[in-house]
């Protein structure tokens, strides 16, 4: 493009003039100020329990999409449930960061097994996982159950086994876990009944 000396001066003068006018408050943009809109207005709200520890804080899980046929839901926000008597809306730093656990690349979403001598994890079905665990439990209990202590008193302790129950289990599953595991002789297990 060829710009003459005169055109160059005109461009400069127009530019300077208009920017001065804009700076003096004659800007053509509308003087609006709006806060970031509330992002959960029509998000789906689902109650759930924080999976981390046995305190079992109530959480509200917000997902986008209204569950219409063609819409894929995705969790966009998680915060404390004010109606849950345990935490009354509050969360610890781990609970407050739950969203990133849900979407974590390394999150385990199905049962996996690492066979003896192997260094990689294989996906297995829930049925296989449960049978496998039951077989291991049976073998270990048969080998290590202490039926009587040194004074000959019946104790039925199974000290080589530990069990971690879900933090999401409510009172009834907590009771059942307790009942089944104590019946087996298990001593070491954790549910929120501990708290």
């Amino acid at each position: 493009m060829k710009v003459t000396r005169r055109q160059f001066f005109k461009i400069c003068a127009t530019g300077m003039g208009s920017s001065t006018v804009a700076l003096m408050g004659f800007s053509p943009t509308l003087a609006l100020a709006e806060v970031r809109s509330f992002k959960l207005t029509h998000a789906q709200e689902t109650r759930n329990t924080c999976p981390y520890c046995s305190v079992a804080c109530g959480v509200l899980v917000y997902s986008m999409g209204d569950k219409s046929k063609n819409v894929e839901s995705r969790i966009i926000h998680i915060e404390g449930d004010p109606d849950n008597p345990v935490n009354r809306g509050t969360l610890c730093p781990k609970g407050a960061g739950l969203l990133d656990m849900v979407h974590s690349q390394s999150r385990v979403k199905f049962p996996e097994v690492r066979l003896p001598g192997s260094n990689d994890w294989q996906r297995i079905s829930w049925d296989d996982a449960i049978s496998r665990i039951a077989k291991h439990m049976k073998a270990d209990r048969d080998a290590n159950l202490v039926e009587k202590n040194k004074d000959g008193l019946t104790v039925n302790r199974w000290n080589t086994f530990g069990f971690l129950a879900s933090s999401a289990a409510s009172n009834e599953p907590g009771y059942l876990s307790h009942k089944i595991l104590r019946a087996l002789g298990a001593v070491t297990f954790d549910t929120q009944a501990r708290i």
């Binding site: 408050g25 800007s27 003087a31 609006l32 809109s37 509330f38 207005t41 915060e79 509050t90 990133d100």
Partner: protein, 295 residues
């Protein structure tokens, strides 16, 4: 009817008055330093709600993580180890924007509408109007705003204006598991703080008090401190913060002078044009120059 969800009190680099007839409730966040355990749930909740994620840093030898506010960390816990009367005290302060009633950032900002103060007391940055000059950092008595390396714009705590606008509490306050953070009308927060201070005094903290510094017109984020006489103990919280006199000079006294100077230049140019006329270039010289320019 204005098209915003919160009423505006002040707008950066704007001289026209904002509508101010409606009386809205002034809100405040109260940070009770004495019941904070430094768990950083507020930091996590802040990042989660505001869709910001900071880089994963390295351990600096203390609990501070990250070690300073950034464009992605609008609140950070600052841990100070202080010896008081032969006892070690671990003073943990949640740092972030104080939402001053007289905000230095807004005063210093040259870009219209980049910083807004709402009538409920929240001072909010509107990044779409931000020109990234960094004057808000110069104007801030608490050294809070940070310029992003990604987009060159300034970011800081919004007091979750999007949540407050729909009647909810800020994300940090909601998450706090020990109740060290409280949110409500500023008046109610002052009342609650007073009850906390009575409790602290009965436990031997004679200097316990509320931090609501008058130098910046009061703040909408207040602290309950065990040592209110020495806020500096809490990782350098300023004792009597105020806006830098340079900012006041430059945005107060010097501003009309600059307008006068600009008008004088325009008038002078007009006067020169009328009396002396435009600069004449002879036809011959012009032809020569055009020939030189031609390829």
């Amino acid at each position: 009817m204005a098209l915003q969800s919160l009423d505006i009190k002040q707008r950066s680099a704007t001289t026209t008055a904002t509508p101010s007839v409606r009386q809205t409730v002034e809100v405040a966040k109260l940070i009770d330093v004495t019941t904070c355990i430094g768990c950083k749930a507020c930091q996590a909740a802040c990042m989660e709600w505001n869709d910001i994620r900071d880089e994963i840093g390295t351990c600096s030898g203390v609990y501070d993580n990250p070690t300073d506010l950034t464009e992605n960390s609008w609140t950070v816990m600052r841990f100070a180890e202080v010896e008081e009367a032969g006892k070690l005290e671990w003073l943990i302060r949640k740092d972030g924007c104080m939402h001053c009633a007289d905000p230095g950032c807004l005063k210093a900002c040259p870009s219209p509408g980049a910083i807004i103060q709402y009538s409920n007391g929240i001072v909010d940055f509107h990044e779409e109007n931000c020109i990234g000059c960094g004057y808000c950092i110069t104007g801030c008595p608490f050294n809070v705003p940070r310029i992003s390396k990604k987009d060159g714009k300034a970011y800081k705590c919004t007091l979750c204006s999007d949540r407050v606008a729909v009647g909810q509490a800020p994300a940090c306050v909601k998450a706090c598991p020990t109740g060290a953070l409280h949110f409500g009308a500023k008046e109610d927060m002052q009342d609650y703080a007073a009850s906390r201070i009575i409790d602290l005094k009965s436990r031997g903290y004679d200097q316990a008090g509320l931090y609501d510094p008058p130098g910046v017109g009061g703040t909408h984020v207040m602290y309950v401190l065990h040592h209110a006489d020495r806020p500096g103990l809490y990782s350098g919280l300023p004792k009597d913060p105020s806006i830098s006199p340079l900012v006041s000079l430059w945005k107060g006294f010097a501003k009309p002078l600059a307008t006068v100077a600009m008008a004088a230049v325009a008038l002078g140019s007009l006067f020169h044009y009328v009396t002396k006329g435009p600069n004449e270039v002879s036809k011959q010289l012009e032809d020569e120059l055009e020939k030189e320019d031609a390829p």
